[in-house]
Symmetry: C2
Subunit: 350 residues, 2 copies
């Protein structure tokens, strides 16, 4: 069953439970898994956060819940239309669309929450329901050919900024590729450096420009190339707690999205960014850690996703030297250094 | 003379004035046009901000200025290398590169300022010097074929998110196109709506997704398609002071960049976004104006770029109704409405 049929089946299932309740003369209710902190669990085997088995009831028998159930069903109905016509709407449009309903949302926060309720209840990502975020995903450069509708696109022939991952990345088919790996970098500055220094050729790699915190579409793309094309994924971020965590969210997902991490996390992706050891070994230009960096590093040290020896050591070392460094700081040694010297040494060490 | 040769000639000119001074036994000095507020003038004929004719001297005879002159010459020399090898560096990399000089910068603010000094002194944009911002430009969808190095790219065959304008957009050649106009929208949400509703076909248009405030590369692209391909450019933003001003900076440039507006402003571009009149006529879902919106609208009313009747009326009307509206709010009438009804009516009225 493809993703679309699977989604439609899930939506029909939701409708049927309500119809069944009505036909059985019981008050219709929907089971919504709990997204409360106490129900978010780090799964050691899966290596990402998942939801536990606690759930709540949304019942038409409860006056306070009637509107929420109605909104949920209205949204599900709207999404069914999207999926059937192969359209999408942004979560902002979704909010405005509700103005035409009798149970419209008071704010976008409210409609986003119902969207998450649907995700968690159906166990599928909102993108599968046709609900998209505002922002596009990362840029990809290198020799991969994908098919989007009837158009074939080669990401080495899409211009200097490469192919943009669109929110509908799951509709895209991987046709062909000639690479050994994927290297994702945090900034578009580093992306353009790698394109200019022909890193795609030197390392037989796709280059992915994350643009900071990776969009959900980017995470889907990385997961798909990793699992469908069996390409190792390396994430090369700045050497600071924020760079670490951008990588970690790609690898092990976020707690907030525990209910969709099975679609978003890429547990086999590897951090290949700037470490405290690199700062010392390469004598990099640094900035002193700010209070907020120190606080964040201490939080990460306690986070189950960072419990292995590598992370514990690097976090300790960074706190000890009290310094952080950006990947672009390698240009102290010339623009080419990062591609000609640093990356080969890092790849060797992996 | 192409842009590269022009840039190299400018750089050599700077070097020669210093050598001439030395050979004439006078103290070398560089004339740097003033970027102070009093030297920024709105040019009624050009319809954008320009610099007046005041300038300062940076002299090696002044102890306080020696370092700045040395930094400026070092940066010019580095840029000469970039232009000659057809490479680029981000302004962040530029800052780190200086770590290898005897006159390194204390912070990136400092190196950015010297970069602006070079722009203003040479009268060319820093992109021509190979110095790039971190961020990419807008997304373009529709039937235009461009050539970047030896790769031809059609922006209707680059995937759902279209062709990404790269910071090096001036190296790109326009090969062919089959459109009558360009419609730029503020958000990627609206961009995807227009792609899905086939607005490129309905209006024979390129669709440009600005992603908020337009990057310099986006402004170059819009200026180039307007002036080289003679395509009218329409900017369709949200109905609030921020949407207005994103459009106005594309049209008439910013005061801060008065020294490069001749390369960035597109005075013939037209605002076709949501107006206060639209809010009333289409009975759009709105948000109340916040204090900061009111303040900003009052500032705009006094700005020379907004002095025509259209803007004065619309600003007054928005202040009167005390409401603002986003373009996506048209989805109250269904997702297709904005493309099927609103845009045709707006285009007709232009």
């Amino acid at each position: 069953m493809n993703r679309r049929d699977f989604t439609l089946a899930k939506l029909k299932g939701l409708g049927n439970t309500i119809i069944d309740d009505v036909e059985k003369n019981t008050v219709p209710a929907v089971k919504v898994p709990s997204r409360g902190t106490s129900n978010i669990v780090y799964d050691q085997d899966k290596r990402y956060y998942v939801l536990g088995d606690r759930y709540g009831q949304r019942s038409l028998g409860n006056v306070k819940q009637i509107k929420k159930v109605a909104q949920m069903v209205s949204m599900a109905n709207f999404c069914k239309g999207l999926v059937e016509t192969q359209k999408t709407a942004t979560i902002r449009e979704m909010y405005y669309v509700s103005e035409g309903w009798d149970v419209d949302f008071g704010s976008q926060d409210e409609s986003n929450l119902i969207g998450e309720d649907l995700e968690v209840t159906l166990g599928i990502a909102r993108e599968d329901l046709g609900l998209m975020p505002e922002e596009d995903g990362a840029s990809v450069y290198g020799n991969i050919t994908i098919k989007d509708d009837d158009v074939e696109i080669n990401a080495a022939k899409s211009g200097k900024s490469g192919y943009s991952i669109s929110p509908t990345i799951d509709d895209v088919e991987f046709v062909d590729h000639d690479v050994q790996r994927v290297i994702a970098v945090e900034t578009m500055g580093m992306f353009h450096r790698m394109v200019q220094e022909k890193a795609y050729k030197k390392f037989d790699t796709l280059i992915v420009g994350l643009k900071g915190q990776a969009a959900r579409a980017t995470r889907r793309f990385l997961k798909r190339v990793n699992e469908e094309l069996h390409l190792p994924v390396y994430i090369c971020n700045d050497g600071d707690p924020w760079g670490f965590h951008i990588a970690m969210v790609i690898i092990s997902g976020s707690a907030k999205l525990a209910h969709v991490n099975h679609d978003l996390a890429t547990p086999d992706a590897k951090f290949m960014g700037v470490t405290a050891s690199d700062i010392i070994n390469y004598d990099l230009p640094t900035d002193p850690l700010k209070d907020i960096d120190v606080l964040r590093l201490k939080e990460l040290a306690k986070d189950p996703r960072y419990k292995n020896e590598f992370w514990q050591n690097e976090i300790k070392k960074m706190l000890k030297i009290g310094k952080k460094a950006e990947q672009q700081s390698f240009s102290k040694y010339g623009l080419e250094y990062v591609v000609d010297t640093y990356f080969p040494e890092k790849l060797d060490s992996m």
